[in-house]
Point group: C2
DNA sequence: GGTGGTCTGTGACTTAGTCACGTTCCCGTG
DNA sequence: CACGGGAACGTGACTAAGTCACAGACCACC
């Protein structure tokens, strides 16, 4: 298989040629359409997944139907949940869904284990990704437990706005991002609109006063 | 050094003799009195830690002074926060404090990396522990985001009660366990007392109706 | 027998979540 | 074009949880 994908992973691109070859020979490219369930509680994974492009949302769903996004896996990152299932036969209470069309590379379990043994650089990539996810999770705990919702909402709005000031997102999606309820998010947004900081319309939100929003997002 | 400690870790005890010897030769036993800070934001670790006895509490502290316990590391487990620092040079926003006197075994960074390479069983132990902590963290997120506080409080009371029905703990400590505020915990406890399910006194709580508490802890 | 520190209690208030609706908008089908 | 259904959003009334500013109460130790 072509080894061009490996350039998406600086740690792997810097590997000695024989390790690069080992990986590229055993990797298979896969394409996942938006909305695919990559993993779910009770389903064992059989490959190590490296995401080339697109985004996988890892979330928890409560018995009562509420959801919270734990983190997102995007291009250049690996999917810890499948890794863990490979290494520890662990089953998690979270599921992963592609938010966009996703291009990924899959390495079978046996080759993955061998790569861990033979390549310090590969090992480092895997451990680094574990650490990043643990950081992500700790950050979620911190936010959910301690931060005000209006502040978190402002953070999310700013994060979702790329260069464009218009964010295409529903109240429900924002609530899922924040682990809150749609009505609550709607009310907070309405208050922001009343202040003139955003303009609301069905399915999208225009950020009108970035400075004020940033102040809210960063304020203590 | 004596290799008796290795029996505390079934995965390691089952290792081939040469791997066991490798670990026991390089491990150093350490004793940490209660209240010792094992790691903290901004401090790099230099050894892999295996806990033999006692308990290390890993927690986050908010700017506003509120705290939440993320998980506890107890006998027979390893400390992935230090592991992560070893492997990924990551710095976390959490700190670890010994809750009791702790006996542990430390393996220097270089020996740790070598053990990862040479011993599949050791590798498995490390990855399994990563997975366990990720599970723990996801569980915390789920509880904080979705579960009622009275239910979580009942769970904690039951968890803290060993065989004895009298739990020695302050309202503040329970609040820290739950990531909540002392006053809130106090009010909920008072309500439980009014129902006759617990009896409160300074510094301790007597569980009077385990069935009712269990029903609360398990109820939807 | 004070005295400082820890632990707990309380009321008034704000913020967040829940529940049960109702309304509006969009888009495809008859 | 009407209209019907689903998705998105709005609202009010209520409960749960967190915050703030205190005030006691208990304990240990001079």
């Amino acid at each position: 298989m072509s080894d061009s994908w490996i350039e998406r992973f600086p740690e792997l691109a810097a590997l000695p040629p024989e390790d690069r070859a080992f990986l590229t020979e055993r990797a298979a490219k896969v394409a996942l359409p938006a909305g695919t369930t990559v993993f779910a509680p009770g389903v064992a994974a059989e490959s190590f997944l490296l995401i080339l492009a697109g985004s996988v949302r890892v979330q928890q769903v409560s018995p009562g139907g509420r959801e919270i996004v734990l983190y997102r896996v995007t291009g250049g990152e690996t999917c810890i949940m499948t890794t863990s299932c490979l290494l520890a036969d662990e089953n998690y209470a979270a599921d992963g869904v592609t938010e966009t069309d996703v291009e990924a590379v899959a390495i079978p379990k046996a080759s993955f284990e061998e790569a861990i043994v033979r390549s310090p650089g590969f090992r480092r990539l895997v451990f680094t990704d574990y650490s990043r996810r643990i950081s992500d999770l700790m950050h979620v705990v911190e936010e959910v437990a301690f931060e005000r919702l209006d502040k978190r909402l402002a953070q999310r709005l700013l994060a979702r706005a790329g260069d464009s000031p218009v964010v295409r997102v529903t109240h429900h999606d924002l609530a899922t991002d924040l682990g809150s309820a749609r009505e609550v998010v709607g009310r907070l947004l309405k208050e922001l609109e009343r202040r003139g900081w955003v303009a609301l319309s069905r399915g999208s939100i225009e950020l009108r006063d970035l400075d004020k929003l940033k102040a809210l997002a960063e304020g203590s």
